[in-house]
Symmetry: C2
DNA sequence: AAGTGGTCTAGACCACTTC
DNA sequence: AAGTGGTCTAGACCACTTC
């Protein structure tokens, strides 16, 4: 772990512990340089991370301050906002038991749309996966996933039943890097309504995603449809020239 | 504009113009130092901006590469993802005419929930605004907005009929800094269905937002409900230790 | 006028990829 | 072994806020 990551963690934990309270000023850059024994630019880089996480605001000429937000929400918030680790990880630190019903796990030639999203040709093969994910037995979301078999080799039924991200990061040693998402409100199909055990007239939150590995390759095109009354999508936007 | 902003703009425009193509390597950091006559860390800062915008990936030991994405989508994408400028700005560079129907513009004591979101007491007053926004006469979204009158003084009916953000940034000289958002799928109420001229069984995308000024003050709590078939929410997530 | 954070440099050293 | 980007420093100078 780098120095700036350590400093960011330390300050974040002090905010979470209530040592630095909402609206309160945090120590000056120069003080932190002394405290942590680093240069100014390293402190700045650490604090920039906390700005991106939505925890502090910096005001040139005045100092840096804890944002006036729900501290209780912090534990989940920063993680939710990047959301690069999949459904299983959302519940990793909870007692909730995650299971999957696999409706489809096959290798097919991609449709034109899927090939276009994955930036492959229709001659390449892809995994086609459809799963319902359940939390403590309650269906939460239906996932439609496509992954090039060249990029994610060796995917097995067991992985699909458990966690695909585990296979990618732990078995293959690849790193999930970024995701481009589009979110919309939709109505379920008859089949989805049944699979999610939905009442009438419950909308779904659809998240369409193209996901990239650290080496720049696209490894996934997926559409997830979340039962509207049980899922929220979080996002923190910050001016670039913060 | 700073050096790193200029460099980021230059490289981004070269990507948009197709001079640097998807999957192609962009010039080395050392080359860019020569090209732009700056130090390494300035080039790095510029390229970090493009990483956050989802345009490039950087690979230590190998170089930096244009992401394999739709270049055509770029014009809208980076702006959409920060979305800090309101509905009017979304259409600022288009020929679309934005209008508003103001259903409510009053000053009230906030409910407990609103006071909590705005971090004020129920003794403070807030503007309570409900508007339907239309693009070329077609209703697109209903906004429910609350703003403390102390933070945004002098808001008038004309501002609410035109652009509130214009009043905030141009009249008051304040800067919108960041927003924390929660997105869900919901069904319209009977009234919303009428105001948005919706067919039966069309869901809405609800965006609940707490927005901050550069000086750290919360200036807005709003809920916007977008007609589901006409609105998409974009988001780019990137690993922090990119 | 004093104090804050922001930008930028030149350069040392390091982690990682590629060959 | 050679080449890539990443981290970090010490310090100069600047933009902005506060008094």
């Amino acid at each position: 772990m780098t120095k700036y990551e350590k400093i960011a963690e330390d300050v974040q934990s002090k905010i979470e512990q209530g040592e630095y309270k909402p609206n309160e000023q945090i120590p000056l850059v120069t003080e932190m340089c002394d405290t942590y024994g680093v240069s100014k630019i390293t402190v700045k880089k650490a604090m920039d991370l906390l700005v991106l996480r939505g925890l502090i605001v910096k005001r040139r000429g005045a100092g840096s301050f804890v944002k006036n937000i729900e501290i209780g929400a912090l534990q989940s918030f920063p993680e939710m906002s990047s959301q690069l680790s999949g459904f299983s990880a959302d519940y990793a630190n909870t007692p909730v038991r995650v299971t999957s019903v696999v409706h489809d796990f096959s290798i097919v030639s991609p449709s034109e749309k899927v090939a276009d999203k994955l930036k492959i040709t229709s001659g390449d093969f892809v995994y086609q996966i459809c799963r319902t994910r359940l939390a403590d037995g309650v269906p939460k979301v239906i996932e439609y996933t496509y992954m090039p078999i060249d990029v994610i080799p060796g995917l097995k039924k067991e992985d699909v039943e458990a966690s695909i991200y585990h296979h990618i990061e732990k078995e293959l040693g690849l790193t999930v890097y970024s995701a481009h998402r589009t979110v919309r409100a939709v109505m379920p199909t008859v089949l989805e309504k049944e699979r999610l055990s939905l009442e009438d007239h419950i909308p779904l939150l659809e998240v369409e995603q193209v996901a990239f590995l650290k080496d720049g390759r696209i490894f996934e095109y997926s559409t997830t449809r979340h039962a509207g009354n049980t899922y929220e999508f979080y996002s923190i936007s910050v001016r670039e020239n913060a």
